[in-house]
Symmetry: C2
């Protein structure tokens, strides 16, 4: 890994080229204290001094390289090599589509679980692949150097072209997958090279009931009793792959108070958001989004009550929305927490002061915060209009506005079109309209009625949109009439409107299309106004990223980018509801929580576990918590100790962790992982999979 | 119970005498909805219509009488007869002093538990008694009629005399214990007659580890795994007493969703407090109180760290303060909860509107709220001064101000003295000073230093108190010097100052006494000013009680008065930390929580339970929650179902319940009880006490 090391040494010089004026060299990170930007470190800027001070731990380059190369990115998730024979550990929910695909009418592996007794029984996961990060290279000067003066749009084009060029060049020369990653909103660019493995086979998965015990209620919470694991194996040329780097297994597993490291691919954080952006989310965006989720849930729950069959039909959709609602509720609670906002304020003050203190930085970046704040404030003035004039209250209504827009945008020169209709966008919209998708008219009617009610409340009865769609009717009556009379549910009807173009759409008598036709120009004006303001915000957040990099360097880890990070933390319980949540749970707890809900779903213990209860050590640690910094995308990340051994498997965060999206705190926010001892005990005593446990523990060698 | 029934019928007529003008007869209670004044009903005003509407349950007078007579008040607690042989069920923590007293060097029943195998083994609890409420009579007209016009103080004297007369008359004529209970701050007076039983013997108590599993951390919380029970037996003439009324046992115990009733003696609530009073507590009193607890804890924890012996010495004191801190933190959180304050505001608006709507009521009570608010606001202006000029920063400092005051107050005529030195007060202070109590000088020094630091921060360096005590030194130096040089720790020194009177104290060279001498006149001025304002508040809260009774009658249950109430609720889990707290816990949960804390105190499972684990049904319900309305004093209350059978035993509330002190809500606040099945299973399988289980279940008959 010579170039990684070189990258570290070369950093100040390269930076000097890109950003000639560096702010003061002091960092915001007090060695040993947890940075508020969190601990999602990139592998080319590990916080060696901070680890040394905080944990007395000296990470070597070999230790870092070993962890990086043992970790592999699964689409949307994280995973790692955990045996010399290419065994891969990830979450059950990360391999769910594979488990579904390899199931059949006779073999419901999702609900019954799966164990390959021999290598021959391992089943290939269609289309699944993993990517191993083999090198990192700073390409900031090259990308930034390609950007000349000009309009924001021109700069974006130049930058994107430079990124494409670097990537293509890399792929051609290396034969690897290459990705240019923008850190700090473009303050820094790195070239990541990946080796891809595309033959993965399913080795073991527990039943869903065990992997996702507690279901929706327990999702995002702790204490928790989930065996959210699956094992895959990488094959090459039809034989198990033997990776050079794989993680060995800790006999004891995670212990109270011990430092741990999580290696994985966190997806997205908003820690660089300004206060003004957070206030917009808090006061405008999230409340509206939550109200929208609730409206959709109301309709779905109402239909679910009509029959058991309907309940089953809407179950997954409801779960998905409940899941989002829980997450956004948690984000909003964080933004409503005065202490969190105060910490953000304090950081922003420090950051602005650093920029103000340096004339060149002030000149370059001083106006950034106010520009963003002004744009956010202006967006807020018509956010309600933007929301309802999106005309997305139901599938049919969405198709109606798409049809009208498509017919009119197609007549315009490219440059005058709405952003969504530029380039390949126009064809994307066309294809979307032509695709044959069934419409659930009961749901349509309820959702549209709910949306119309909300629109009427928000915009007032005199608003053109409300008048055009209600025509003096109640929302329920209007929804019933519109859904009842519209022919847009018929793909053929849509196709003839798409093909007929402007003339067909203008002459169309469909009541949805008619109502929407008059609203489209106003709707477009909101889209354009919002796009212009968002462009200002986007350009200024990019500046902010350069500014933070100039002010703090890599002392503050960049926002998550769905690329490999190493986060640190401590195994530790936390204060909860007046008492203490323990650092770990136990198999006893699984049986307890089931008993306490009278063994009703989603709290039932599967038969297999009931049968084996007497053979289990119920004191076995099940799940555990640590202060490691994670977010969506970290699912399936290995948790390792200072020796680099696996002590657990990340699968969730507690609900107190949701505000970490904006600012990292570790008073009560926790990363939730399966304990390594639970995996071994379950493999040996519940799943008759001693051969896999042996492989993990290196006992087959 | 003829007179109870008569009392209900006679109520409007009697009331008419006392409060000639009744407000509108509509009540604030919507039948079937939970009143915000809670559900601590008196037995002479049961909410029959509300129970009928809410639960479809028709309570008969016989049912009510049976519950009332089966319930017995244990000092500070509640309890009930649970067998025909006079077996009494209460909490372990209610019988703890008895368990302590009957233990010996050889028999540590507190830590090992106690089971009487035969009646002969039952051990008498010295001094313990229980009171059974045999009748209730409205004496409002008599008490109010005795109060003529005059100053507030004169009215208080007249009222107290009337109360004494009613009680003495009652005791002389009935041979029972009599108590005149003031409800609604004196809006209504009732004569309660009790039969006392004063021979109680200990029958069974589990080990403290089981009764108080989870200790301080789990105190006030749920989920919970405590067998907080003890069984006593009432004897009369040396033989088991056979009560006419005792509660029979439910085979199934508390079930999810079922209505339950709690019969016991809630001690004190503040639901009649005005908004102004709550704001004072929120903004002035509680924050200061919590800061004071924290300061004391800081000192105690600092000393605890010095040695294991010190840790043991301060353990109980720390627990007591942590307990209070947790409670007041919960109260304060309630007051800081905007939704709770809004509900209170809505109620106060309704209440004031009712008073305003009636000219006579307006004339009598209209000014009450403003009078209280003005007094609270004025109290707030010098609350900080009052707090520090109490000069109670340490035991020695408290003695110093007592000595100075005693010498000066003794010289004054009775009427001019401070309230605490009037009547027998002067002698009480004298005796307090003469009592020989050891002084912990390390703790003194730390506490005084903490208090001086806080005083300096709060009053400023220029304040006379700060100047007199610090004399330019740091708080630590001043505390060390004052504690080091003062002789007040010596009871003899205090005695000679007490005996020497004004001359001795004026001439005393003790640095504590010297510093305090000059401060005493200012301190007295704060005491007098606060006393005058508190008298205004007290007189007006009494009026408010009359007003609420005039406006709502008994439709709103009165604040708790440590007398018998029946509260209703439903067995029900609640939303907690993003998921659901189950309605019950299980024996599995006990073993789980112990495992999850590595079996460390206070989470260790006692050996007896470990030994018997295999014989236990771990699915047995352990504790459970309901929405019944309880508060301190309800400990040991039986929980019964509609058949009047025991389904549980109240022992705590969850932390979410603490704000119920001010306004009742049942979204997340819960009463925590031991499940009746846990009691039977533990008696039979852990404690070899099948004979007690048989007695409870009526299987020995």
């Amino acid at each position: 890994m010579k170039h990684v090391h070189a990258r570290l040494l070369a950093l100040p010089i390269l930076l000097a080229l890109a950003a000639p004026i560096r702010a003061q060299q002091t960092t915001a990170v007090v060695p040993g204290s947890v940075p508020e930007f969190g601990t999602m470190w990139t592998f080319d800027a590990p916080p060696l001094e901070y680890w040394q001070t905080r944990y007395g731990f000296e990470a070597t380059q070999a230790w870092l390289d070993h962890l990086r190369l043992s970790s592999i990115r699964l689409p949307g998730c994280s995973s790692s090599f955990v045996s010399e024979d290419g065994l891969v550990m990830t979450n059950h929910h990360c391999a769910r589509s594979c488990i579904d695909q390899v199931s059949s009418a006779d073999h419901d592996y999702l609900h019954n679980g799966f164990v390959a007794e021999t290598r021959e029984d391992e089943v290939r996961c269609p289309g699944l692949y993993v990517d191993q990060l083999v090198s990192i290279e700073d390409v900031t000067p090259r990308i930034r150097g390609a950007v000349a003066a000009g309009t924001d749009a021109m700069q974006v084009t130049q930058r994107d072209a430079a990124i494409d060029a670097v990537r293509n060049e890399c792929e051609a020369s290396s034969g690897l997958r290459c990705q240019v990653v923008a850190f700090y909103n473009g303050g820094m660019y790195s070239l990541y090279k990946y080796r891809r493995y595309d033959d993965l086979r399913l080795v073991m998965a527990p039943e869903l009931e065990t992997a996702f015990f507690g279901g929706d209620p327990d999702n995002f919470t702790y204490p928790r009793y989930d065996l959210d694991v699956s094992f895959l194996r990488v094959y090459e040329n039809g034989r198990p792959f033997h990776p050079e780097n794989w993680l060995s297994w800790s006999e004891a597993g995670a212990k109270d108070g011990e430092p741990v490291f999580v290696v994985g691919n966190p997806g997205s954080t908003g820690r660089l958001l300004t206060l003004a952006q957070m206030e917009y989310l808090r006061d405008v965006d999230y409340p509206a989004r939550l109200a929208d989720y609730q409206r959709r849930l109301d309709a779905l729950y109402a239909l679910s009550k009509t029959s058991p069959e309907a309940a089953r039909r809407y179950e997954n959709t409801i779960f998905g929305i409940e899941n989002s609602k829980k997450a956004y509720r948690g984000y909003l609670d964080g933004l409503l927490d005065a202490s969190i906002m105060q910490r953000k304020e304090a950081f922003e003050s420090d950051f602005r002061a650093r920029i103000e203190a340096d004339p060149a930085l002030r000149e370059q970046y001083g106006g950034t915060w106010d520009a963003i704040a002004d744009a956010q404030l202006e967006l807020a003035t018509f956010a309600t209009q933007s929301r309802y004039y999106a005309l997305n209250g139901s599938t049919l209504l969405g198709w109606a506005i798409d049809l009208v827009r498509l017919s009119r945008q197609a007549e315009l020169p490219e440059a005058e079109r709405l952003p969504a209709f530029q380039g390949s966008g126009l064809d994307r919209v066309r294809q979307g309209l032509l695709r044959d998708r069934p419409v659930d008219t009961d749901l349509e009617r309820l959702q549209l009625a709910g949306w119309l009610t909300a629109a009427q409340d928000a915009l007032g009865a005199a608003d053109p949109l409300v008048r055009a769609l209600l025509k003096g009717r109640t929302p329920e009556a209007a929804a019933a009439a519109l859904v009842g009379a519209s022919e847009l549910a018929d793909a053929g009807a849509r196709a003839s409107l798409v093909e007929g173009g402007l003339a067909a759409v203008d002459g169309c008598a469909d009541p949805m299309v008619q109502a929407v036709r008059d609203l489209e120009p106003v709707a477009n004006s909101y889209v354009k106004r919002a796009a212009a303001l968002n462009a200002v915000i986007s350009a200024n957040t990019a500046k902010l990223g350069q500014a933070i990099y100039a002010a703090y360097g890599t002392a503050l880890p960049p926002d998550a980018t769905f690329t490999l990070r190493i986060s640190d933390g401590v195994v530790k319980g936390f204060p909860m509801n007046g008492t203490i949540a323990p650092y770990k749970t136990s198999f006893y707890g699984l049986f307890a929580r089931a008993a306490e809900f009278d063994d009703q779903p989603p709290f039932q213990v599967p038969a297999r576990w009931r049968d084996r209860e007497n053979q289990l050590d119920l004191n076995t640690p099940f799940d555990f918590v640590s202060t490691a910094d994670i977010i969506g995308g970290n699912s399936g990340s290995p948790v390792v100790n200072r020796a680099g051994e696996v002590v657990g498997l990340v699968f969730d965060g507690n609900i107190e962790m949701l505000p970490n999206r904006f600012i990292f705190t570790d008073d009560v926010s926790r990363c939730v992982s399966v304990h390594s001892m639970a995996l071994i005990e379950a493999l040996r005593r519940v799943y008759d999979a001693a051969h896999i446990a042996d492989e993990l523990q290196g006992r087959n060698r």
